[in-house]
């Protein structure tokens, strides 16, 4: 998943989006993310996680983005932890409805 470990304190049922200042570069292992504001680089260590992140803005909540990307119930905690780490490093932001 992302390189940072994180607690699972992430609201899967809230609306999220990628930060405007983040650029995504798809790679065979997943993707590289770069935040121009914090100047930090992150890694998405699976193509599925990349689909989740890209789908965030188009879904009412993060859970729906995960389902759409094919994340099963058993895998959901791992994806939640990865999203939590991305939120902690400001790569993704809560979306105002």
């Amino acid at each position: 998943m992302s390189t940072e470990d994180s607690p699972a304190g992430f609201d899967l049922d809230g609306p999220w989006r990628l930060d405007d200042r983040v650029s995504i570069r798809p790679e065979r292992f997943g993707a590289l993310l770069y935040h121009f504001g914090t100047r930090r680089l992150s890694f998405l260590k699976s193509p599925t996680l990349l689909d989740v992140v890209r789908g965030l803005a188009e879904h009412p909540d993060a859970r729906a983005a995960c389902t759409e990307a094919g994340v099963g119930a058993a895998e959901l905690p791992r994806y939640r932890a990865a999203l939590s780490a991305l939120a902690a490093s400001s790569m993704i932001q809560p979306r105002r409805l």
Partner: protein
């Protein structure tokens, strides 16, 4: 596959790319990795630089580390910075501070896409000016004041670690805190003019240990450019960062005339992959050059493979080995397990530099400790200067 393994086999575009814009420099640092001083007449033109930026944009290179020489002395420097950021290529540039006026600092503070790195190799003028030349400490500090006054937070203070400044780590951190900057420390390489001064300047074995312990204790908020991976051989605490050699795999260097080298510390024909002026451009060199293909294939660790630290240090730095005359599959000259010194003892010749843009008057190190007059006449040995 772990990320480190992924990166060993290379990516379609570099994660991080160093671009030396010019060999011209107002200073003559004694450890300059690119032997800079005089401008090369074949330097890329403004139009060629912009075409290269277009290519970086197409490859989605997030940002470039611009250096030199002193990049800000190029008359089109700010034009190129603006062009890059307008094309979604972020810029972090290294400077000795000579052009960072209050006006420039205010402009820089206004952009998310530009980061500044001020070079400082001593926490005191005495230690800094010894390697960077007289007045360079004052220039750097003045630039930092201007950036801080303009509200530029988190600019970088970049320090090359030497025998004379390892003991100043806390003082560097204090300077960074004072200007709301972030400290970045990197390893001294025997590259460029650094080959001439490495023996005098590289940290002692005990200082390497001091540096490692300091990094393990303070590393979270200190950048290292992942340059101390040879210290991972201590293996007792995790160093932050990726800690692998990314040469030709995830990093490279484009020099002022468009030559592409495996890394910024490897300016030598041996590590020259091609030139951006060739038919395939930068993309062709990055993706197809023989040298980079070779670097992305599994490398032999030679005798190091039987060492228990090999998985951590991977044999150390290619450039450090090459320029000290060691085989690339042998130990790093600063191997923390002590294998470097016996290997160095057997070295009979070191590679000649391929390039030298030094000012014709060679730099002379300012002697440390010679500026303060002795407290009493007898404090100076009557034999000072003899027997050296």
């Amino acid at each position: 596959m772990s990320l480190v393994d992924e990166f060993q086999y290379g990516l379609d575009a570099p994660i991080c790319l160093t671009w030396e814009l010019t060999y011209a420099c107002n200073l003559s640092c004694v450890h300059c990795l690119s032997s800079s001083g005089r401008r090369d007449p074949r330097e890329l033109s403004t139009a060629e630089c912009k075409a290269l930026i277009d290519e970086f944009e197409r490859m989605q290179v997030f940002y470039v580390n611009i250096g030199g020489g002193e990049p800000t002395v190029r008359p089109d420097f700010w034009e190129l910075v603006d062009y890059a950021t307008d094309h979604h290529v972020g810029v972090k540039f290294s400077t000795n501070g000579v052009k960072i006026t209050p006006d420039v600092a205010r402009r820089l503070a206004g952009s998310d896409y530009v980061d500044v790195q001020i070079s400082l190799d001593g926490a005191t003028a005495e230690v800094n000016d010894h390697v960077r030349g007289p007045g360079s400490y004052a220039t750097a500090i003045r630039a930092m004041e201007h950036l801080a006054d303009a509200g530029f937070e988190n600019f970088k203070i970049s320090v090359v670690m030497t025998r004379h400044n390892v003991s100043q780590l806390d003082a560097f951190k204090a300077i960074a805190d004072r200007y709301r900057a972030q400290l970045r420390i990197t390893r001294l390489r025997p590259s460029g003019r650094g080959a001439d001064t490495w023996n005098e300047l590289h940290p002692s074995a005990a200082q390497q240990r001091e540096l490692y312990d300091w990094l393990v204790a303070h590393g979270e908020n200190v950048l290292t450019g992942d340059s101390f991976f040879h210290l991972a051989g201590y293996g007792e605490g995790d160093l932050p960062g990726l800690n692998l050699c990314g040469a030709g795999r995830v990093v490279c260097l484009v020099d002022p005339v468009g030559d592409v080298y495996a890394c910024p510390f490897a300016i030598h024909d041996t590590f020259l992959a091609g030139n951006v002026r060739g038919g395939g451009g930068f993309t062709g060199v990055w993706r197809e050059s023989e040298l980079f293909t070779e670097l992305r294939s599994p490398q032999s660790g030679g005798a190091c493979e039987s060492c228990s630290a090999f998985d951590a240090c991977r044999g150390g730095c290619m450039a450090a080995k090459f320029f000290t005359g060691l085989p690339l599959d042998g130990p790093d000259p600063e191997c923390v397990r002590g294998h470097g010194e016996p290997a160095l003892a057997g070295v009979t010749s070191v590679p000649k530099p391929s390039l030298d843009h030094s000012h014709r008057r060679r730099p002379v190190p300012v002697t440390i400790g010679m500026r303060r007059p002795p407290e009493r006449a007898c404090d100076d040995s009557p034999l000072a200067g003899f027997g050296r």
